[in-house]
Symmetry: C2
Subunit: 552 residues, 2 copies
């Protein structure tokens, strides 16, 4: 497709890389339009003159340059730098647009539309290389057809926002391109991880921050670690002999489950939360999902400690061995805080595991994905559980202290550097910066709650103020407001949130999640973690729900 019109693509490229004030990115303009616009030389040079000197480009012609012309190629330095700066132009324009409320959150297309190729954006891979110009066009198109998760009106998940320091951290991490498994090849990152984990353990309240820990590729994997550690603590022979060496083990977690597989957090901290990931861990690790027992919750979605105790006793009577309880600080749907101390007391009473925490800085703390830590009170247990080290694997002949190597603790071999962006954000904001951010999000959710709790057309999913930033509510179109409760109303109401969400996405103005829960039909689940969001964005969301949903 592109080969048919290389000239126009070239024009489009040079236009969009220099005319950021034209709002190019969010316009759904075709190649033809790009061609027309770029014909206007005066416009271009005029726009150019307004710009910071840093933005001035060498007029590098990328149409005759290829990946093979970049470093390490001979004379590759100049095209390499020009290419990266051109890309940075695209990215910084995207960053600016992300925070600009006059732009859309997304430009929705169905899978088949994108697969058919949008205006020259061809996803298919080929045997032959494309020019760097085409690569830059592909980068621009990738962003154009994506979702601006940092947009002030993107509320779809708890991982929202685009933190500039975190972004800088990721750019540096990928430039350093190394691996966490030994100090030898990641000295600085390995130490940053160690210090940060200690700081996190101190904040949890473990004496002197002692214990163990590791960053893992997401909350589900951190939770999987926690189950493995618990099993290793009580039945270490499972490591060598398998699950047949243990009695029938059972795990407990909340009945509250989220529609899409998302991990939750309490100030981005969680004590092995989320039934979904515990069930996945139960299946993977050989426990079986039937041995993951769901705990009843109160009307606010909190685990009922008495139910836990009854189910522990019941499991023991059936000959099972209760091993592990998953409690959550800030559940996914309701934002509920399970009564962690009471649960811990019960764990202690019945000798269940209660000594680890999953903490996901990529949730409420706004760290870019992926950033999740498993923290354990017992020092050395991660390596005990996961090391495959016979003596011959230990390299005492290395010249540095190899206890800093982390490979033995992990179930991964190579491990991505997830620590740097988080460390850098912590340096840049301080602990108080994270605190202020979370307080602001809590204030905004309070604002939303106060705004709609008595507003016509709204019903809250549970009574009382939210425990976290989650606000769960139904919106009732005019046609449903007088209708008596019953199957018809339920069925109609169940379809309202999906319809509004679909229209939101089509119009690209905002995004918010919905789901059913237990016997409750589809409701909106609003979560606020985006540092760009303000009261005006909350107002906008409510206006938009009413605009789209009023006449349903």
């Amino acid at each position: 497709r592109l080969n048919q019109s290389p000239k126009r693509v070239q024009s489009g490229n040079s236009l969009s890389s220099t005319c950021d004030t034209l709002g190019f990115l969010q316009k759904n303009n075709s190649l033809e339009e790009r061609g027309k616009l770029s014909g206007s030389k005066n416009l271009l040079s005029c726009d150019n003159s307004d710009r910071d000197a840093r933005y001035r480009h060498n007029e590098t012609d990328f149409s005759n340059l290829f990946a093979r012309d970049l470093l390490p190629a001979k004379n590759g330095e100049e095209p390499t730098i020009q290419f990266l700066l051109e890309l940075v132009d695209i990215l910084t324009n995207y960053v600016k647009k992300t925070f600009d409320r006059s732009t859309k959150v997304l430009d929705f297309h169905h899978p088949h539309q994108l697969l058919e190729g949008m205006e020259g954006f061809n996803l298919e891979l080929s045997d032959q290389p494309e020019s760097l110009e085409q690569i830059l066009v592909d980068c621009r198109d990738t962003l154009k057809y994506g979702v601006r998760t940092g947009h002030p009106r993107f509320f779809n998940q708890l991982s929202t926002g685009l933190d500039i320091i975190g972004l800088a951290g990721e750019w540096l991490t990928s430039t350093a391109n190394t691996n966490m498994f030994t100090y030898e090849i990641a000295p600085v990152f390995v130490l940053m991880e160690q210090l940060t984990l200690k700081k996190m353990r101190e904040m949890i309240g473990w004496p002197n921050g002692e214990g163990d820990g590791l960053f893992s590729p997401g909350g589900a994997i951190s939770n999987m670690y926690s189950v493995m550690i618990a099993r290793y603590k009580y039945f270490p022979e499972v490591k060598t002999k398998g699950m047949s060496a243990a009695p029938r083990l059972v795990l407990f977690t909340s009945e509250h489950v989220r529609q899409t597989p998302t991990h939750t957090c309490w100030n981005s901290l969680s004590l092995h939360l989320s039934h979904y990931s515990i069930k996945k861990a139960g299946a993977a690790l050989g426990f079986g999902t039937e041995n993951v027992i769901l705990l009843s919750t109160d009307e606010r979605g909190r685990v009922i400690p008495a139910d836990l105790e009854a189910k522990i006793i019941d499991a023991k009577q059936k000959g099972c061995v209760p091993l592990f309880v998953n409690a959550t600080g800030g559940s996914t749907v309701y934002g509920a805080f399970d009564p962690i101390n009471e649960i811990a007391d019960i764990c202690e009473k019945y000798n269940l595991w209660a000594n680890s925490v999953t903490w996901n800085p990529h949730k409420m703390m706004g760290v870019p994905l992926q950033c999740s830590a498993i923290l354990v009170r017992d020092k050395g247990i991660l390596a005990g559980c996961n090391s495959m080290c016979a003596g011959y694997l230990f390299q005492p002949d290395k010249q540095y202290d190899v206890t800093y190597d982390t490979g033995d603790k992990a179930i991964q071999c190579g491990r991505h550097v997830d620590i740097f962006k988080f460390w850098l954000m912590w340096k840049a904001k301080g602990t108080i910066g994270f605190e202020q951010h979370i307080d602001k999000c809590l204030d905004l959710s309070q604002y939303l709650y106060n705004k709609i709790k008595n507003r016509e057309g709204y019903e809250m999913v549970f009574n009382g103020e939210p425990q976290h930033t989650n606000v769960c509510f139904w919106y009732l179109p005019q046609s449903l407001r007088g209708m008596p409760d019953g199957d018809e109303r339920r069925e109609k109401l169940h379809r309202v949130a999906p319809k509004i969400k679909a229209m939101m996405m089509e119009s690209g103005t905002t995004m918010v999640g919905y789901q059913p829960q237990g016997n409750k039909v589809n409701f909106f689940r609003m979560v606020i973690s985006n540092p760009a969001a303000t009261q005006s964005d909350i107002d906008f969301l409510i206006d938009e729900i009413e605009r789209l949903g009023h006449d349903l």
Copy 2:
């Protein structure tokens, strides 16, 4: 520490961000030196004038700016862009230095030295925020004390090199900051993953590229998926009932093991390779490491099919059920290619799993970490194995085709976007570009092999040409050359490679791995995957080994 000399840090900062021709980064200069240098105004302006217009900076004073002044702050756009461009200056300077043979591969320090704080580089986190100037200094120091894994003389692992297109892909990925679990929030990336996986399956040779697959956070996790899938295929009830629902299952993998936990590849492709990760999977998934049976290898490190068959028969006689064989294309140490077709025939004969492939583009294909795929011939089996979806989890009320959502296939909940950098590299290089890169690496290893096979002071670890880019050899210092074989010679030889490696790291000139294997004492394992490496770098490595080791 830094608070004592803010002025000097500031000077250092502005110097290194503008004077890239001074070779600032690789100089081990102290803050005092930075201060002196930056005092020379003429030098600075002179240097500045040589530079591309793009490099000219607004003289933004970052010492009074903080993270809170960046977007989404009011008037945050200008400092945000200036901050990101300042960072990009640091990063592009690092990129240039990475490919510059006059710079060191690393500036080695012991853990305690870095922990004590190097010249104001303080790793500790605090409650209060640091200025953006300090953040930029921290970024520069992080790179300064790290390891240049893209340096032409970095040969330490198979993941080496700094691919500029891959780097661009990572920068864009982190700017887009989204999550692979639904099409809704990652439409473009989800489709790129789907198309790329299909292309990979076509290259493996599966009819029409049909099947299933997923990118995962590394080869060990991909291998873990493969074991889970095999178990699900033969004993699906394990998912719900746990391992007690299955007989005693055994897994097979090569006895060849690598010292440090690294995953291997064949043209970055591997059929569930690496004993290390299979053992880890065996422990984690509840099989037990004793049920991971090691297969004997020939003198070239290849699994012996007859040994596999004998061990399968033996396991069956003991009442076990052989489930899974891990064969490797390009083993970690010797670069051996297991006889995959013969192994597959035996699997078919005895009804073992042989329908999945782990392919790690972050190895020989040079894609930045992390980039690993699990590919399966059976369509739908990943979701069957990992989905926790009861009917109520399925959202048929979404407006798009939800079969594109990938959350149900994964053991993760959130999943990092690993596809884009790989897709972009494939676009930019074409299939032929990857082919040429791998051929070049094979040529270089051939060059090394030819250079040392008959050279005085060298002994090859195995006879014959390497099957892959791995060249394994002993270097004998003068003092060992006449010595008869025996314990004394073995003990001395065992210490040679570690000593040379330590000196290499101290001098920072090059890095290459070593390890023992079976009854063979420590030898150098050279692997070539770095696109920047040339024959002159191979020559340099050999010269360096001889310079450092000759008189040991």
